[in-house]
Symmetry: C2
Subunit: 196 residues, 2 copies
């Protein structure tokens, strides 16, 4: 699957990406070694560079793929709270992507593919907020919602909430979180927002 006996690997780009995700999820981006990934794929030490240019290029490709996956995950979610749940689930399901996406110093910020994917994801995030209706300050509410979901996801991935969450589905735990803050169900109406 990952290596062939022919001169050409056949699918080296995917093989390296997959191996990289494993390493990052297990030991973080700092443990990434292009030469190690090459060994795992059974190719020479310089082969990965042809597909990703360098270490930064590989991480940038991962981040771009991550933003695309996030945009897909958020698409067609009815309520704001449901987008939050999906945001958290995305982080748990794709920890390596999520980790790399939010470490700008590891990435090539002007990469076209990265920018495009990031725009897609941003649009989906904003779409969730506009669904709130004409809330007093939709922008502030959007930042609050994003902060809540992002903080919960980050604390989860950094093992700061292992005890409270236990074995429960993190998405459901987050749902109960938003419930305890806003009341039973989101999105709230304009009137509720003013009184809340």
């Amino acid at each position: 699957m990952t290596s062939r006996n022919s001169y050409h690997h056949g699918d080296l780009r995917q093989a390296v990406l997959a191996a990289a995700l494993d390493v990052i999820a297990a030991e973080g981006p700092g443990a990434l070694s292009l030469r190690d990934l090459a060994r795992r794929a059974g190719v020479s030490h310089a082969a990965p560079a042809h597909h990703f240019k360098d270490r930064t290029g590989l991480l940038t490709a991962i981040a771009a793929q991550g933003y695309d996956l996030l945009a897909d995950a958020l698409a067609d979610a009815p309520e704001l709270s449901e987008r939050g749940v999906r945001y958290v689930r995305f982080a748990v399901d794709h920890p390596a992507h999520f980790t790399v996406m939010f470490q700008p110093e590891l990435l090539r910020a002007d990469d076209p593919a990265l920018l495009a994917a990031k725009d897609r994801a941003s649009a989906e995030l904003r779409a969730g907020v506009t669904g709130l209706g004409s809330v007093p300050d939709a922008r502030t509410a959007g930042i609050a919602a994003w902060s809540l979901a992002h903080g919960f996801a980050t604390l989860l991935l950094t093992h700061n909430l292992d005890d409270p969450v236990g074995g429960r589905d993190p998405g459901e735990v987050f749902r109960s979180l938003t419930g305890s803050m806003f009341g039973a169900d989101l999105p709230r109406t304009k009137t509720e927002q003013r009184n809340g």
Copy 2:
């Protein structure tokens, strides 16, 4: 200041720590090089190892210092919302510490100094929640508050909120955030919490 003409540096540990914080704040933990820090301090390439053992030891020392600073910053804050503001301010004022503190794979998790400092900070965080009184689920509320502050801080440091925040004080922006979610002022009473 950073180097002396005597054989002994005099304060190498502090000099290396300070230089490391600069590097991390500017280029992230991945850009840290013990040899580079040694050059900046004007000592031999192996000198820092005497104080921190290895790269992981240095990062662990920074994280421990960070948790101590955070505990200090949170101490004696009257309300929960004020602790949130201070949490965000800590992240903005000590970006290198904050970054390293929440990347467990960079640290030696069983380091005594790290564990002690982390416990201090945890106690301060929990103290803020108990101030809420007998809220339905204090633990859930605590996680929600921590997630909100942590997420906002993380998004700030990763330059995902540059436009919305502009030049304003991030602490004040966060204060307005909590206000838009919970109402005018925190902590809310038990009754408000039920109705909210």
